[in-house]
């Protein structure tokens, strides 16, 4: 038995959202008289953190603490239209809609504050802690709660805002494929180290090192969740998962989690991640969308690592011990390609 260490590399970019029918999303923001804000969306939180990231975006834009904002997702009676949570579009598209809505609400709040303070609204700033004050004169201030209360009990204003994000519909040229598919791209590069057993074709994933560029990390912990979980899913796609193990034959399709294989908690490799943030000019606070791209580099990096380890090209996913073993047999034995780094 020989265990061969192999290293594989892959780099990718990922289009954020998709220009499908203009890819719109909308948001409504309003405050109660106590200056607490509600964001109403019809967007879905599938675990990616939609409620949380839009909450931070709304708070930042409104200029209030995050505790003063709650996000309600997905009631079609109250949440305005959204295309849905897919294509890494949520943060980017919904985030932009929330910014627009929050800007409108913020403008009303500042107008109300200006009226109370008897100043020009253009001279007012928020401190993000619940206060509005005259730029350069912190003592001339009013709380956001007081401003919103005055708006709704004295001045007759609704502290509210509407937002939509819509890209002009991209036409696709039938002859050349010319189009404006998306608005920005995230990037990643990943190196995976694996051990391959040349008698059984089995793989152990030893370590991953990666760099992800995903625009501004709006919430670093949410980004971390996506990257760690996404890389696991990438590994899973690479070397475990299939609904049709003998594709294109339709036989032996798994019917449960015992036969639909995914890496278990004992299969995970240590993963060292670097995050780069090149803000997207059109993203909310420069954010892109890390949710989907995180898995993608792992698949090719894994097959490339197999080649580096034993000289077998796996061009059909998933990588299985059988495919590796057949490859080694076809080559007349393992052909390690030499250590990298």
């Amino acid at each position: 038995m020989t265990i061969h260490r192999g290293r594989g590399f892959a780099s990718i970019n990922y289009p954020i959202g998709m220009n499908l029918g203009g890819d719109p999303s909308q948001a409504l923001v309003h405050s109660n008289p106590g200056g607490k804000f509600m964001v109403a969306l019809s967007s879905i939180d599938l675990g990616q953190g939609m409620k949380s990231v839009t909450r931070q975006i709304a708070a930042e834009t409104l200029g209030v603490p995050v505790e003063d904002v709650y996000v309600d997702t997905a009631d079609s009676d109250t949440g305005p239209h959204c295309m849905g949570s897919f294509a890494s579009r949520g943060t980017h598209r919904v985030g932009n809609a929330v910014i627009q809505a929050a800007q409108e609400a913020r403008a009303v709040m500042l107008e109300a504050a200006a009226e109370e303070l008897e100043v020009d609204p253009a001279d007012l700033v928020t401190d993000g802690k619940g206060n509005i004050h005259v730029k350069g004169a912190p003592s001339k201030s009013i709380t956001t709660a007081e401003a919103c209360g005055a708006a709704q009990f004295k001045q007759g204003r609704t502290v509210s805002g509407r937002g939509i994000f819509l890209i002009p519909l991209s036409e696709v040229d039938p002859e050349t494929g010319e189009m404006t598919p998306v608005s920005c791209f995230a990037h990643a590069a990943l190196i995976v180290d694996i051990d391959v057993d040349d008698e059984t074709g089995e793989i152990d994933v030893v370590e991953m090192n990666s760099a992800y560029e995903l625009g501004r990390a709006l919430n670093p912990r949410l980004v971390e969740q996506q990257l760690v979980g996404g890389a696991w899913m990438g590994l899973s796609h690479a070397a475990w998962e299939t609904t049709e193990p003998y594709y294109p034959e339709r036989s032996h399709g798994p019917l449960d989690f015992n036969t639909y294989l995914m890496p278990g908690p004992g299969d995970i490799a240590s993963h060292h991640i670097s995050i780069l943030e090149r803000p997207a000019p059109d993203g909310p606070y420069g954010g892109k969308g890390p949710g989907e791209m995180c898995a993608n580099p792992v698949l090719p990096a894994m097959v490339n690592a197999v080649f580096n380890a034993v000289g077998v090209r796996i061009d059909e996913l998933p990588i299985t011990p059988e495919k590796i073993l057949r490859g080694i047999r076809a080559n007349g034995g393992a052909q390690p390609q030499g250590r990298r780094g």
Binding site: G47, E224, Q225, G229, D256, N258, G264, P265
Partner: protein
């Protein structure tokens, strides 16, 4: 369809309820009693989202014939808190961002509780073994394993639920 009366304890409080023949415990806890914390994930015993403790040991409620729990103690995530105070595992899962969609979380918490109740200072391998019957599709397991280890480090798990 014939129904049978059963009595058992759910999170320390006594329940008396009629169950249908062949009904599984998950269904009884959720629809019968109204504790919605254990989740349906497969009905096959392959995902662990319905994990509950029966007399302190983890069981899959979807594969447990409801009438077999007559007189026994059943614990769910619904009973983890002590009053308003979160269980150390719940705190650690929050602080460690160990939940994304949150669907596997109640099952994970019960699997972890079963471990810490008998082994307050588990090794990483023991944690991995303890959650090996629970599928998580979001997190890649790492944050969950770390959260359980953190909860163990914080101690006091046995004083809860």
């Amino acid at each position: 369809m014939a129904k049978k009366p059963i009595q058992f304890h759910l999170n320390g409080s006594e329940k008396a309820i009629f169950v249908e023949e062949g009904q599984n415990l998950l269904d009884v806890i959720r629809r019968g009693v109204g504790d919605l914390t254990p989740k349906y994930g497969c009905g096959q015993g392959t995902c662990g989202t319905c994990t509950v403790l029966i007399d302190g040991k983890p069981h899959l409620s979807c594969l447990t014939l409801a009438e077999t729990i007559e007189g026994r103690q059943v614990s769910t995530t619904g009973g983890l808190q002590r009053g308003a105070e979160l269980h150390p595992l719940q705190k650690a899962f929050m602080e460690g961002f160990a939940a994304q969609c949150g669907y596997c979380t109640p099952g994970m918490l019960m699997a972890a509780k079963a471990l810490l109740d008998k082994n307050p200072n588990p090794s990483r391998d023991e944690v991995v073994e303890a959650i090996s019957g629970n599928i998580c599709r979001c997190t890649g397991y790492e944050p969950i394993i770390n959260a359980i280890l953190e909860a163990a480090k914080a101690g006091g798990a046995r004083r809860y639920g």
